[in-house]
């Protein structure tokens, strides 16, 4: 199936999310849609999938213009989509999720469900494409990688000819990512096209047949996978990017934060952080690298008092574990939470109010009884100027700010406390390059002022640019602590749970080329996801964790 988008335009209010986008997906190709967060990739795909209606432009399938008023139309035209946030009902079984919405074939006049036939069809499709799923498992009990597989099966069961994958690797380990790539290549071989949306250059170059780069809602160029990462990056962000943060060599002081034997469980009661110990020195940036969901979130939540934990974390000798979030803040924590909209900002509050959210009732912004509105307003105006927050005034509600400016508010709040410990999770998630450089500079200033800084990020480039030392987390453990000049390849292998020595060796022996890594993968686990690969990972994780905990 040949799919064409012609002149697609979509505006929200005064913001043009897509303007005059042209895109052609040939049959049997893996077409990458590359762009920064907020570039308009997801909007475009939601239009293609019938979830949004374009203001103008047309969708052409095999030379015929089509109008998608709902996903039903898109599905009928042979388009399938795997959303970034999975569209699966957690309390349903895999089979129920897969039959949902196209049960009628097996219904009757009353619409009785034919579960047996549904299961048979699931088994047939998953066998045909090598995507094993258990039809009786509850979706909420499945790991994310498997849930993603269910999503792909769901699209295939609806005879999708074009499969859209929206940021599919964000939640996957590098190994799961490789498995996904294998699946994508298999689909391509079966004559299907894949539209792969991402902002990760490495992945694009590994799997794409063709690359379309989108910036600020418009197509800025086409490239082939042979293009250098630098070329792609400058296309994507619109200018030469310097991912290097200029900084003095570190001058670490004494140990400021000592974490010992910390174990934390997640919301579902599973062990998310497993006996982690590390030291953080004054005047040092320690970066925590790892694929999302390997315990970083829970680690930070434990140290900041947001989640109960076992073990100890002492800040200059003061125990943080067991203290309330308020108490930890009063001990001198500056915290940039992972998700600013969820945990960082009160949308109805003004910028000024948000800037004192963690200090309300404390001098100089008031007493336990009463606020000092003048002090709050003055602080707001001062921070607005200092952090170059683009807003009419400090009275503007936080909800009215752009993502980058919101992030600056959160960072300004954490830094202005003059913290004894700075913890920043995903400090630049979703912000533009300018704001990113600014925030990085301010974080390094804290380090240079002799503060201990803990950075958590899933963006490897950010970690290597900021950190003085890098701790790699995998399955709740710190599997290695390495210097910042460690290669991305080695870090990637560590993040996938490889033994630190093996990872170093593999990275040195020319595995720097991504294709070579693929070859290694293909050798060790020939036929996709199997349980063998998983148990291998586990074994190596257990071996390596002992060496890492020192």
């Amino acid at each position: 199936m040949r799919l064409e988008l012609r002149g697609i335009t979509k505006t929200f209010g005064s913001v043009a999310a897509n303007s005059a986008i042209d895109l052609t997906v040939e049959p049997g190709e893996i077409h990458c849609l590359l762009g920064e967060n907020g570039a308009g990739k997801s909007t475009l795909m939601n239009i293609l999938y019938g979830l949004l209606t374009p203001d103008s432009g047309e969708i052409v399938v095999d030379g015929e213009a089509r109008e998608f008023r709902s996903p039903r139309d898109a599905i009928a035209a042979g388009i399938g989509m795997v959303h970034q946030h999975f569209m699966l009902v957690p309390v349903f079984t895999v089979a129920e999720n897969l039959m949902l919405g196209h049960e009628d074939a097996r219904g009757g006049p009353l619409g009785w469900l034919d579960r047996r036939r549904a299961k048979a069809e699931v088994a047939e499709v998953s066998a045909r494409y090598g995507l094993p799923v258990d039809p009786d498992a509850l979706v909420e009990d499945l790991p994310v990688g498997v849930q993603q597989r269910v999503e792909i099966v769901k699209a295939l069961m609806r005879d999708a000819q074009v499969l859209i994958l929206d940021e599919p690797t964000a939640v996957l380990t590098p190994q799961e990512t490789e498995e996904l790539f294998t699946v994508m290549r298999g689909l391509k071989a079966a004559g299907k096209s894949v539209v792969f949306i991402t902002h990760k250059l490495r992945e694009v170059r590994a799997v794409a047949d063709r690359i379309t780069v989108i910036r600020r809602g418009t197509v800025v160029g086409q490239a082939d996978p042979g293009a250098s990462a630098r070329e792609l990056a400058s296309l994507m962000v619109g200018r030469d990017v310097r991912l290097v943060v200029e900084k003095e060599p570190r001058r670490p002081g004494e140990v400021a934060l000592a974490v010992r034997g910390l174990s934390v469980t997640d919301d579902r009661g599973c062990l998310a952080v497993d006996d982690v110990s590390f030291d953080l020195h004054a005047g040092e940036v320690l970066g925590i690298a790892g694929v999302q969901g390997n315990g970083q979130t829970e680690l930070v939540e434990a140290i900041t008092g947001l989640r109960p934990a076992q073990g100890s974390a002492e800040l200059h000798g003061q125990q943080l574990i067991g203290a309330s979030p308020g108490k930890v803040l009063r001990m001198g924590l500056g915290h940039v939470p992972e998700d600013r909209r969820h945990d960082g900002l009160v949308p109805d509050f003004s910028i000024a109010e948000n800037l004192v959210l963690d200090a309300a009732g404390q001098a100089p912004y008031g007493s336990a009884l009463m606020l000092d509105l003048d002090a709050i307003a003055k602080n707001g105006a001062d921070r607005l100027a200092e952090f170059d927050i683009r807003a009419e005034s400090a009275r503007t509600p936080a909800a009215a700010l752009s993502g980058g400016n919101q992030q600056k508010v959160v960072v300004a709040r954490a830094l202005h406390r003059d913290p004894r410990l700075l913890i920043a999770s995903q400090p630049t998630r979703g912000v533009d390059v300018g704001a990113m450089e600014f925030i990085h500079k301010r974080i390094i200033e804290q380090r240079d002022a002799g503060k201990p800084v803990l950075i958590v990020s899933t963006e490897l480039d950010e970690i290597t640019a900021l950190s003085d030392r890098i701790a790699v987390m995998y399955r709740g453990r710190i599997v290695a602590v390495v210097p910042p000049d460690t290669s991305n390849e080695e870090l990637g292998l560590l993040m996938a749970g490889s033994d630190p020595e093996d990872a170093a060796a593999a990275a040195e022996s020319g595995a720097a080329d991504v294709e070579a890594v693929d070859a290694v993968e293909a050798d060790s686990a020939d036929a996709v996801p199997g349980p063998r690969a998983a148990s291998d990972e586990e074994a190596s994780a257990e071996e390596s964790s002992e060496t890492a905990d020192e």
């Binding site: 308020g326 108490k327 009063r330 945990d343 960082g344 900002l345 336990a368 009884l369 606020l371």
Partner: protein, 411 residues
Amino acid sequence: MSNRLKRILVGIASANTVTVTVLAFVLAVVIGGILMILSDQQLLHEWGYVTSVPGDAFKDSWHKVADGYVAMFHGAIYDPSAKQAARPIENTIVNATPLVFAGLAVAVPFRAGLFNIGGQSQLIIGAVCATWVGFTFSLPLPLHVLLVIVAGMVGGGLVGGLIGLLKARFGAHEVISSIMLNNIALGVLAWLISTKAFHDPKRQDAISKPVKDSALLPHIHGSSPEINLSTLLAIVAVVAVWWLMSRSTLGFRLRAVGSNPDAAHTAGISVTRTQVYAMLIAGALMGLVAVTQVSGTLSASHAMTNTLDNGIGFTGITVALLGRGKPVGVALAALLFGALNAGGRVMEASTQPTVPHDVVTVLQAIIVVFVAAPLLVQEIFRLRDVRRDGSGAAPSVAPATAVDSAVEPVL
């Protein structure tokens, strides 16, 4: 047309808070009028032959509705034929006073992200405490009154706090636990006024002993109905809640928790403790309603009966919604509903055939529905969408961000 005038007209024609409220009131009055016509058998009969003699039906319907609303106006605002010109206004104020407390008791938790539907239980237990103090002790006047007020607030506050605690400690949804506590409180009340400790031995019916004269709220103005201390307390409460929400540290925390509990928690604010405080304050305010009921003007017997709550706990919800959760808004909404209540009684007494007081409940419900759905008012009157002009604050009851995209063909 001058630019200035045009701007003003555009401002009126856009769906800002005041316009929506006024139009909601107009719509409610129209619907109330239709209801009045529908309820009159004579009129229904005339409408039956409206095609042959249209005059009768239209004229009589107009008279019916006009008479009803004029009587209501006379009862609530001003009656040219009355001997005391201020009487209707006094009536309105007396009726509005408990609604101020009740509205605030819903508004405060509302700002903290809680829905206080448990006003009934807080009111009842507050009344039980206040009444017991009122008939048990013999104290000098100011002290006794003070003690009754405190008892009412403590009683109501305890129930409110319990609801908050059940949510904070056990995650019990406040709406459900409130509904259960309402029914439990009704049962406890029914039982108490049948016990020796509470029941008035001079009476055969289910009523408690009356509070002593020294426990009655001192009278301030007017004769019957009299404006008493509770009206003053209501003004104090409005100012206090305004101060609490906009100036105090606790209010800052309340608002933060109500708007984004996760961010508040991350910033070191204890969500659970804040919500318990909000419910404690709400309960205490409902306790003040109880005091106005047993020690005040509205109940002549100054004692507890099974119907003591009189639906005020629920009316408080509508008052808070109409007042958009702001203290001054609540006070104004309480005055409007107080006027409707006062006018409704006069209307019921002076119209022939009777237009029952219940029409007031209908008016109140309809006003609130329209105020809560500004989009609906906009569609009915073809107003401009205020958010696209940017010429005023959007009504805050509906989630403003979601409203725009909700307009899609659904039926």
